[in-house]
């Protein structure tokens, strides 16, 4: 293959942007009711978990595990893998995250009050509402908006938001793959030469750092 430094990021892109964005149109056409159920279910579960903590937090993680497994199959394996040799590895990564969420569910508890983590709440709002609208605002067809439960980016961002609201031994580990996916997604967009490529990874990283900083300040307040 010669010297890898000779290659540009775009040299690894196997498909055209319109082919990639058609994947969202196709997954929406096939499975939009699942996105609706998943979104409403997630919001109800977060509301319940905010009051009851422990058991509901576990249920959220297990429900998210189902969502990740569904995206692994419906989006990555069925639609994306035929046009991207790497997509089968992305599918495997989403299945690993599903397993990590199952494990995290055993130990997860929701933070005492959701208000103490505005970063996570803001990230959740971005994932469920702003991210789909942004795609449409940038000129992509409404039929191809990215929805939680079907598309990988909002699924990863919303999951990261939930994980930032929770504590538990395995919860921190479960944050790794959603963050990693956001970076991969950004690189994919960069390879397609899209000017907003950095948005998803930047928002994910910003929210994570913000939530960490917010929690650290709260803990410092307890110890003083």
């Amino acid at each position: 293959m010669g010297n890898w430094s000779d290659y540009a990021l775009s040299d690894f892109l196997m498909f055209a942007p319109d082919t990639y964005f058609r994947l969202y149109e196709r997954i929406n056409a096939d499975g939009w009711p699942f996105a609706l159920v998943a979104t409403v279910g997630l919001l109800i579960a977060i509301g319940l978990a905010a009051r009851q903590s422990g058991r509901a937090a576990s249920a959220i993680h297990w429900a998210l595990a189902v969502v990740w497994a569904f995206v692994a199959w419906a989006f990555f394996y069925r639609l994306y893998a035929p046009i991207n040799l790497a997509a089968q590895w992305f599918a495997a990564g989403y299945l690993v995250e599903a397993l990590a969420l199952v494990i995290a569910g055993w130990t997860a508890t929701v933070q005492a009050s959701l208000r103490v983590n505005p970063w996570a709440l803001a990230l959740l709002a971005y994932a469920l509402i702003v991210h789909p609208l942004t795609a449409a605002a940038l000129g992509r067809d409404w039929a191809g908006v990215e929805l939680f439960g079907l598309a990988p980016d909002p699924t990863a961002l919303a999951t990261l938001a939930v994980l930032l609201m929770c504590t538990g031994k395995a919860v921190a580990v479960a944050r790794v793959i959603p963050l990693l996916w956001c970076v991969i997604s950004g690189l994919t967009y960069a390879a397609m030469d899209l000017p907003y490529a950095w948005v998803t990874p930047a928002i994910a990283l910003l929210a994570t750092v913000g939530a960490w900083w917010s929690r650290r300040r709260r803990l410092e307040g307890f110890t003083q």
Binding site: T19, R22, L85
Partner: protein, 303 residues
């Protein structure tokens, strides 16, 4: 100079130089070139499938590619080039060929792309099944990956009549030294490398060697994956482009490539019927001579 007289003169001149000749005998007046090892004439504009035909199972996109390929053949196209590396492109080409009834004009060209020589035959058979052809016209070792083993396989297939032509490829201007070595030492029919009005490194050694050794040359990345044509399209086509019967930038850039005496075929890729029509315009009308080629280079360089 009148078009027909110019082409005849150019062909005679090239014959005198012992270079691959333009063969212009086709009744439609389409620009064809001869494959040096057999003399078989093929249209000088083929079709690449990198990225553009990798659309997976999307029925809407597949139907659009059928239209693109239909237009290609209707306008005199022949060579379709693909690779197992191009994701679903081979499957989509096969779908399109089936929809079109596999036109007789098809010159099927694909590649073998696996690091193991042992895996080559299975991969080739998979490609053949995806295309839905009885045999390939041309098989090439993709980017020289495991080329010693694969060349042996391909040359055996050719000897057995299961393949018509053998070639090797590279792209991005890489591994030209290795390509030269293969061209000097192996009995190959085709070599494929990057050549366009902005990337002309092959003019130094590869193209002269192809002419000297009687090896057909396929020019890939004729538009630099679209960057080149996107750049020039911001500027007006020079009025003197009419002297070579060009009224669009795609034909201008492609005529530059195929007017080189040692180039056999250029393989632009597109997913749009209107762009395919512009590409295929390069098959018709007058061909740039040496002076015109210099003028074209200077103009594009000035943009």
């Amino acid at each position: 100079m009148h078009r027909r007289r110019f082409l005849a003169t150019l062909g005679a001149s090239l014959a005198a130089l012992g270079l691959p000749r333009l063969a212009v005998a086709r009744p439609q007046g389409i620009l064809t070139k001869a494959i040096p090892t057999t003399g078989e004439a093929i249209p000088a504009i083929g079709m690449g499938t990198w990225i553009t035909f990798n659309v997976g199972g999307d029925p809407q996109a597949r139907a659009q590619r059928v239209d693109v390929l239909r237009t290609f053949f209707e306008l005199g196209g022949g060579m379709v080039d693909s690779s197992p590396m191009y994701g679903s492109a081979e499957a989509v080409v096969g779908h399109c060929l089936e929809a079109l009834g596999t036109p007789q004009e098809l010159f099927s060209a694909t590649k073998v792309w696996t690091s193991s020589g042992e895996d080559g035959p299975d991969e080739i058979e998979t490609s053949r099944a995806l295309w839905g052809v009885d045999r390939f016209d041309l098989l090439q070792v993709h980017n020289l990956l495991a080329w010693e083993d694969h060349l042996q396989t391909l040359l055996e297939m050719k000897a057995q009549g299961r393949l018509r032509y053998v070639g090797v490829t590279t792209s991005h201007g890489r591994r030209h030294g290795d390509i030269e070595q293969v061209m000097r030492t192996q009995p190959i029919d085709f070599v494929q490398a990057t050549y366009n009005i902005a990337d002309r490194e092959v003019e130094q050694r590869i193209l002269p060697l192809a002419a000297e050794r009687g090896i057909a040359f396929i020019a890939n990345r004729p538009f630099r994956r679209g960057d080149l044509i996107d750049h020039v399209k911001r500027h007006p086509l020079p009025p003197w482009a009419a002297e070579i019967d060009c009224d669009n930038w795609a034909a201008f850039l492609l005529k530059f490539i195929v007017s080189h005496p040692a180039v056999t075929c250029a393989i632009p890729a597109t997913s749009r019927v209107d762009h395919m029509r512009e590409n295929m315009d390069a098959l018709r009308g007058r061909v740039p001579d040496t002076a015109m080629r210099e003028r074209m280079i200077d103009y594009v360089r000035s943009l």
